[in-house]
Symmetry: C2
Subunit: 596 residues, 2 copies
């Protein structure tokens, strides 16, 4: 088995850490009992391990291939996709009105982690489809929704997001693609889009492109961009497929990783214009995208967690099997498995503890998203939404940056074998490397965190989070348990550091935005470490309660070790990062541009 879903940790994070009972009590989620959730997780784990993980390596070595404007996915891809569809996994979290199963985000997110671990390149296809369905559902007309959503949610058609153009990457204001109204309610779309994930493939009969483009009378910049649905095959009134639309895949990229996922250059309108339909109102396309972006960023943040889990499993297995050298300080000259060597153990613990902390934080945020969506009380909805809004860029930025580091540690644990492609550890590093870039680079996430999520509201949500973390930390310190107190001893200064850096941001952001922004990424990492430490500290506290109540489940003892390790090896970076945020801005901008 190349991947075994971490069911126990997922269940712990869902039921205990993120308190699933509170989610199940929300209106609309009553039917999703804890037992049903566990059954769903177990079924997903089987599909991930038996069907999706086994084709991961073939996806890497073969890659998706392009010829004659067609894309052929790797061997096994099509069968696996059909099993994924047949199992009803596409619409797990989608609206039941259009055939979805309407499960809480907390559950669908946990399930999604498994797909991403099993095969990140494969999992991108349903992930993008979900994003497209959400954009249509939130903003589309009834007719557009009825035309596209049922087939997309069923997985019969897939969806894409067409934002990037050669001159418009992080800066979507620079989008130049044009949309010409035809007078009949439809538009002709012209332009070239790049980096379009699964922009063309052979998995489904149709592909529904969501495309950002400008109307002829649109104002310049971000307020002149509209969103269009442009199907690969037009859809007739009876739902059957009509003519091939004027959108063509003119090439795919040769990438460092995720070779199985075709990254397409799409040409719209080379033969007279691609027929499209406006989604929502004109000139509000970017705004619609931003609404969806939280979901997409959360999903990419989870890729960081998922690839970490996969890299950890592979490294731990190798470390248990590879025999090299005698035990350090041991009396015997007998060779031992390298897992007994302290530095190998340290690397494995770094991989494991950070993965658990990231997963815990992500699923707690998922539960907050559920509450933000469904809680009957408007104040609770708003409070949860603010919490999620603050932490989504952290999950995207911190979990992906850490994911790259963990995948790199996975290579290191393998020694020389890690550098050999057949081993498979290097693929995780290559795949992970895109996660800090797409769906907004870490720098973009950090600017969002610092500017929109903290400075704009003078830190209200951040400082509320600090207060909650501090209370939880005080409980650890007062627990009378040496491990928990040890965790608190490192978490407390971390929280102080995050608060101090937050105050610095609030006080200085408007006055000197460039200098303060130079510390945006270090601050994001700081908040990630502290929030992750908070959650793994909470996890340790819950575990200690079980142990105190007589549980002999080794899972709980291991959780406490992970948390202590995280406190001692990761949280100790917090104060240095805060110093860097608060004192490091000037030297970032001091060197004249010409001297680089």
């Amino acid at each position: 088995m190349t991947y075994s879903a971490p069911l126990r940790d997922l269940q712990f994070a869902i039921h205990e850490l993120a308190a699933y009972d509170r989610v199940a009590a929300l209106p609309g989620y009553e039917e999703f009992t804890p037992d049903l959730v566990d059954a769903v997780l177990e079924e997903a784990a089987k599909l991930a391990a038996n069907v999706i993980a086994p084709i991961n390596r073939a996806g890497d070595t073969n890659g998706s291939r392009w010829a004659d404007r067609q894309v052929t996915t790797p061997p096994g891809w099509s069968d696996a996709y059909q099993q994924f569809v047949d199992g009803g996994w596409c619409g797990l979290g989608s609206n039941p009105e259009y055939g979805g199963q309407g499960m809480p985000k907390l559950v669908s997110a946990a399930v999604a982690e498994m797909w991403k671990s099993a095969n990140m390149a494969f999992a991108l296809c349903p992930m993008l489809t979900i994003g497209a369905t959400e954009a249509i559902e939130l903003n589309g007309s009834a007719e557009v929704k009825q035309t596209y959503l049922p087939n997309m949610i069923a997985g019969k058609w897939t969806g894409t997001m067409n934002l990037t153009e050669p001159q418009a990457g992080s800066d979507l204001a620079a989008v130049r693609s044009r949309a010409e109204p035809q007078g009949d309610g439809t538009y002709r779309i012209f332009g070239q889009k790049i980096f379009i994930t699964y922009g063309e493939h052979d998995l489904t009969e149709n592909i529904i492109h969501l495309v950002l483009a400008r109307l002829p009378d649109a104002p310049p910049g971000v307020k002149g961009i509209s969103l269009f649905v442009v199907p690969k095959f037009l859809v007739n009134a009876d739902g059957s497929l009509g003519a091939r639309n004027d959108v063509q895949c003119v090439s795919i990229e040769h990438k460092l990783g995720i070779h199985g996922s075709p990254t397409c250059v799409l040409a719209f309108g080379d033969a007279g214009g691609a027929q499209g339909v406006l989604v929502g109102e004109a000139n509000r396309g970017l705004e619609y995208m931003f609404v969806m972006m939280n979901a997409a960023r959360f999903a990419v943040g989870q890729e960081g967690i998922a690839i970490s889990e996969r890299a950890y499993q592979k490294a731990a297995q190798y470390a248990r099997e590879r025999v090299q050298g005698p035990e350090l300080g041991g009396a015997s000259a007998e060779k031992v498995a390298i897992i007994r060597h302290p530095d190998v153990r340290r690397m494995l613990m770094l991989m494991r503890a950070q993965t658990e902390a990231m997963r815990g934080l992500a699923l707690v945020v998922a539960a907050a998203i559920d509450a933000a969506d469904c809680h009957p009380d408007a104040t609770e909805r708003a409070r949860n939404q603010a919490f999620a809004d603050l932490l989504v860029p952290v999950i995207k930025g911190w979990c992906t940056e850490t994911g790259v580091e963990i995948a790199s540690l996975g290579v290191q644990v393998h020694g020389g074998m890690g550098f050999i492609e057949e081993t498979g550890a290097a693929q995780f590093l290559r795949d992970a490397r895109i996660t800090t870039i797409y769906e907004g680079t870490t720098g973009i996430q950090a600017n969002d965190l610092m500017g929109r999520k903290i400075a704009r509201e003078a830190g209200t949500t951040l400082f509320a989070l600090v207060a909650v973390m501090r209370a939880d930390c005080a409980a650890l310190a007062a627990s009378g348990d040496a491990d928990l107190a040890g965790i608190a001893a490192r978490l407390a200064p971390g929280i102080d550091a995050a608060e101090a850096a937050g105050r610095y941001i609030v006080e200085n952001f408007r006055r000197d935005v460039k200098t303060v922004s130079a510390g945006a990424v270090p601050f994001l990492r700081l908040l990630g470490i502290v929030a992750g430490g908070w959650q793994i500290g909470r996890a340790a506290s819950l575990a200690a309660q079980k142990v105190a109540a007589g549980s002999s489940d080794p899972f709980y003892a291991a959780k406490i070790v992970s948390a202590r390790f995280f406190a001692e090896h990761v949280l100790c970076q917090a104060q240095g990062l805060a110093q860097c945020v608060m004192n490091g801005g000037a030297s970032v901008m001091a060197l004249d541009e010409s001297l680089f």
Copy 2:
């Protein structure tokens, strides 16, 4: 131009930071005047930029190819190698007695950095040859030396190091290859060696393999390994090439990076035994290897610096050219080059400042190696040797780990384009990834540093270094210069942290080797950061003196900015790392093996 050698910074590091005048005053180096050194650097820079760098990408995309036990190097490789040989670059630092030019390490190391930046996969070939010549020169008989050294030093033949076997990676005690004495002073070698860099290629008429193997009566473990010279073609008494020896390249590896460099599986003795000659005494092979290892580890550490420089240059160029988004906090909506965005600038400064700090430290150590080799005073030789011995694992470990991070930052600066292979930034990350593994992993370096270089001598050299650093730091603090004082304010607690962690090691290593060793890599990183900060602080001080003396060379102003940035963004990690070393050991080893 894809690579432009950082001549100004190399010259500064050689002449000012490492005080070349003191090296030139050593017996044997008198003829190498500063002007001659500069001329050598300039010629090397031309060859690196015009001949070796241009074939780097073709080396990556084509790779070395294996067929019928032959290896074909990538297009252009052979021509470039011939130009390299014709220019006399192979023997730059080698013994004049065998045709070398006998230049100081300080000069040959600076030149070697350029080859590694230009094309790391290419530069491995002469680097391995130098290692093999040094092993032969130190331990070989007069006949062996005369037979092999002149042609190897001229570059007419290349050399390899055959250590690793499938079961013997970091643990060379597990070597199983056998050597059977033939009664005529020669031996028949049998066994399989893996990961042999340039073990087979088409660049030269002969390849001289240095091979670790066991004699029939050898004791088990490390004290039973002997070193043999095994040429691909036997060498006749008149120096002409004789019969093909029984060593065959049975495959090459498919690797994450350095595709141009063939990584070979070599089979010795499949047809009756490969003829070899013993180097030095029986059973002392590993000891001979260890003597050479300092040089090899230094050379790999430099790969980290070299790839950082190359990645920096590429990222800085892209950041100057790529236009995206308006200036943060600016009044205008006009789009600017991304180098004006604070987080991009921060990434470039991280790349630049760390590269400069690593280069400075490495060349100061190179000067110490020259003094250790040639100083007329035995105390000075011993002092310099101890300094170099302490810092070589730091240069190997810290510079390569940082090199991987910097190459990854280089990808990040490019955004989505960084993930596209044609851009070239990803190659540097793929190439860099081996440097923390081969020639001893970072964990091996850190154990060497902590055990052999610190605990064994109760920290004598480390604490002497601390005293020197502290004196230099005090001078910065007392300089009256705000920048220098700002650097000192961060360097001082860094030095304290390194000293405290060092005392912890000295006091606890013997008592609890496993727990202490769990902090070996964090300690190595800590010492790297602090020693690098010391050298870039010294560099800033030298630069400030030039500025105070009226120099308007922007190089000096830039150096001060780099040093401040390093202090504020890198040195601030020191205390957290020390905490991790001193408090983190127990949680590393706490989790039961079965729970991973």
